[in-house]
């Protein structure tokens, strides 16, 4: 798996953004790459066409450590719709993420999530 690009913002929306996520990762690590890939896939599957996903590298933006209280990486924070919810880990356990972030279910499931070897 190639190392990811971090610090980007991905918006896929037709009209108003309904879902807003921030993914905090630590540097260009394999863990970060997996989390980013999984986050994108998750968004596409469950919030298709209607989300904004920002990826923040805590090494680049240290203020997030205190303001967002990020101790664990990767951390995915869903800030919209309220209430704010968060999960940690590489997001490979999709059911848990969907449940914890209260995302809509999807009928189509193609492929699997990226996991550590």
């Amino acid at each position: 798996m190639s190392l990811p690009e971090v610090g980007f913002e991905l918006t896929v929306t037709t009209d108003d953004v309904r879902y807003e996520f921030t993914l905090f990762v630590s540097g260009a690590s394999a863990l970060a790459a997996r989390a980013i890939a999984n986050a994108r896939r998750l968004c596409d599957l469950h919030c298709s066409g209607n989300y904004r996903l920002s990826v923040v590298d805590i090494h680049e933006d240290a203020s997030s450590l205190l303001t967002k209280n990020v101790l664990v990486t990767p951390t995915l924070v869903k800030s919209l719709p309220l209430p704010v919810r968060r999960v940690v880990g590489d997001l490979s356990q999709r059911d848990k993420v969907v449940d914890a972030l209260d995302l809509p279910a999807t009928r189509v499931v193609r492929g699997t999530m990226a996991r550590s070897m």
């Binding site: 997996r34 805590i58 101790l71 664990v72 999960v87 550590s116």
Partner: protein, 524 residues
């Protein structure tokens, strides 16, 4: 960190060798810390010993032989409320105020405001130290409820945050209180353990001396086995209630590569922080005085080689009930006060007013000295405090008042506080402590007619001077007789003299030549 130049240039070969050795160790640990932390213990020459970071906590540096291992982590564990957080905080504060080593405190449980106010009563002004840029308090809040784990994770955020705090103040000391809180939050213990192991390597690499606190587990040292990661130095705190008396104790369970006191040492959280009393570790190395001090009775002085007791010695006066032991002690105090010296009198069987009245009846006016502030009278039943607390109280009072004489009347009342072995240890510590301070101690003890009690037996070796007062029945009279059993370092009299309690104190008559004197064991 580096030894001062002058110590290297000093002609004394031993000193320069030490300085060189210090330098060697320093370079060695540095290099090791950068490359392979695991090999440190193998390659470091054992002869030289570890570099230590003094805690500045009263007594703790003595117990640990100079402080905590420098550049390593020390585990402080114990049950809730045993003083872990306080010990850790004092380590940081003293580091700043006494050793110019800035510090970081990472709190997982208490908030910053709580931390500040909790130690304010000990005179630690954390806000000021923070303003001076020497202290960083960081309260790490954990998200409410369970943290949902959806796969692999790490604690990089915590590492970064800790690193930033260390950099911000240039910290040399770090406290993490209590890292085990994390165990309640994460389901994946495997990851958490790996991350904690990484955290301790991280701290070592940063070269900071760290104190990690942990809660004591059921039958284990810590609840979640933190001791697996922090293994250089382990300090265990304990807080017990024995016979309604609370006692805090400290023990150095382990100190890799260093000698340390192995006992359980009582410690106290006082007005100025923690004090550990490593009394049993006091060697018999106190300086001795050739000064003599009058007993307050000219005849008794003459029986003790004409000049009375040695200053800083221990005196034991034993006798049966009503033989004038207290009066003798009071006269000794009276004489000292007349010379302008300070005395401290502990009574375990009479109240303050009783002593003053009773002594006045034999012509010794103690009130003038208590009023003048030369004499302190402390009256309490020994059962009020436990053994350790008793020791502490006495030492704290002595430390504050700085008397030249301490009287305890009678020590036989202490026998109820513990087993004979415990009481004996207490007396030995007490005598050593007073001797080390150059304080003359006079302990009285009440003997029964049956022979020496256990407390008395203990005192026979501890006391430098032993005086016995007995009652004898002689020709229709109950007479009190006094003799000196032993008096180390002086030519003492073998005479037995009759003791009379008069309205101007104890009087010793001429040599008693009655026939009915019961000899006591140990009499020489």
């Amino acid at each position: 960190m580096l030894p001062p130049k002058s110590s290297i240039a000093r002609p004394d070969p031993a000193a320069s060798l030490y300085a060189k050795a210090g330098l060697t160790v320093l370079t060695a640990t540095r290099a090791i810390a950068d490359e392979a932390p695991a090999s440190a213990d193998v390659s470091a020459p054992k002869v030289i010993g570890l570099l230590k970071t003094p805690t500045g906590i009263s007594g703790l540096d003595e117990v640990t032989g100079g402080g905590l291992p420098r550049g390593r982590a020390t585990l402080v564990c114990g049950p809730a409320g045993c003083g872990k957080t306080l010990l850790a905080m004092e380590f940081l504060v003293r580091g700043i105020t006494e050793f110019d080593e800035p510090g970081v405190f990472v709190a997982f449980e208490e908030t910053i405001d709580d931390l500040r106010s909790n130690v304010a009563s000990l005179g630690f002004d954390l806000a000021q130290l923070e303003a001076d840029g020497q202290l960083m308090l960081d309260h790490v809040t954990l998200v409410h409820g369970d943290i949902q784990e959806t796969g692999d994770w790490d604690l990089e955020g915590l590492f970064l945050r800790l690193g930033a705090a260390i950099d911000a103040v240039g910290a040399r000391r770090v406290v993490i209180d209590t890292i085990e809180t994390l165990f309640g939050r994460f389901a994946d213990r495997g990851i958490l353990r790996a991350e904690l192991a990484r955290l301790f390597v991280f701290l070592k690499d940063r070269g900071v001396t760290a104190v990690i606190t942990a809660e004591r587990g059921e039958g284990t040292l810590t609840r979640h086995g933190i001791e697996e990661y922090v293994s250089d130095c382990v300090i265990v705190l304990d807080h017990r209630v024995k016979e309604q008396t609370s006692i805090r104790r400290l023990r150095v369970l382990k100190y890799r590569g260093s000698y340390h006191g192995t006992n359980e040492y009582p410690f106290l959280i006082g007005e100025t922080g923690i004090s550990v009393l490593p009394m049993a570790s006091l060697g018999l190395s106190h300086s001795v005085s050739n000064d003599r001090m009058s007993t307050g009775n000219a005849v008794l002085d003459s029986m003790l080689g004409h000049f009375g007791f040695f200053r800083g010695s221990s005196v034991h006066v034993s006798g049966t009930s009503g033989t004038g032991k207290t009066t003798l002690a009071a006269q000794f105090c009276n004489a000292a006060c007349q010379r302008g010296e300070r005395v401290m009198f502990f009574s375990f069987d009479e109240s303050r007013e009783e002593i003053i009245r009773n002594m006045l009846s034999v012509g010794v006016d103690l009130r003038q000295w208590t009023d003048a502030g030369l004499m302190q009278l402390h009256c309490f039943r020994p059962s009020l405090l436990g053994l350790e607390a008793h020791l502490f109280t006495v030492q704290q009072l002595v430390g504050e008042f700085n008397p030249s004489i301490v009287v305890k009347d009678p020590i036989s009342d202490l026998a109820s506080l513990g087993t004979p072995v415990e009481v004996a240890a207490l007396l030995a510590r007490q005598v050593d402590y007073l001797k080390a301070r150059g304080v003359t101690s006079l302990f009285t003890s009440l003997t029964s007619a049956g022979g020496p009690t256990r407390v008395e037996q203990q005192m026979t070796s501890l006391a430098d001077t032993w005086i016995i007062i007995n009652s004898v029945e002689d020709r229709g009279e109950n007479k009190r007789v006094l003799y000196v059993v032993k008096a180390r370092g002086m030519a003492n009299s073998n005479q037995i003299r009759e003791l009379l309690l008069t309205d101007h104190g104890v009087e010793l008559s001429d040599v008693y030549d009655g026939a009915a004197i019961t000899k006591r064991p140990g009499d020489s």
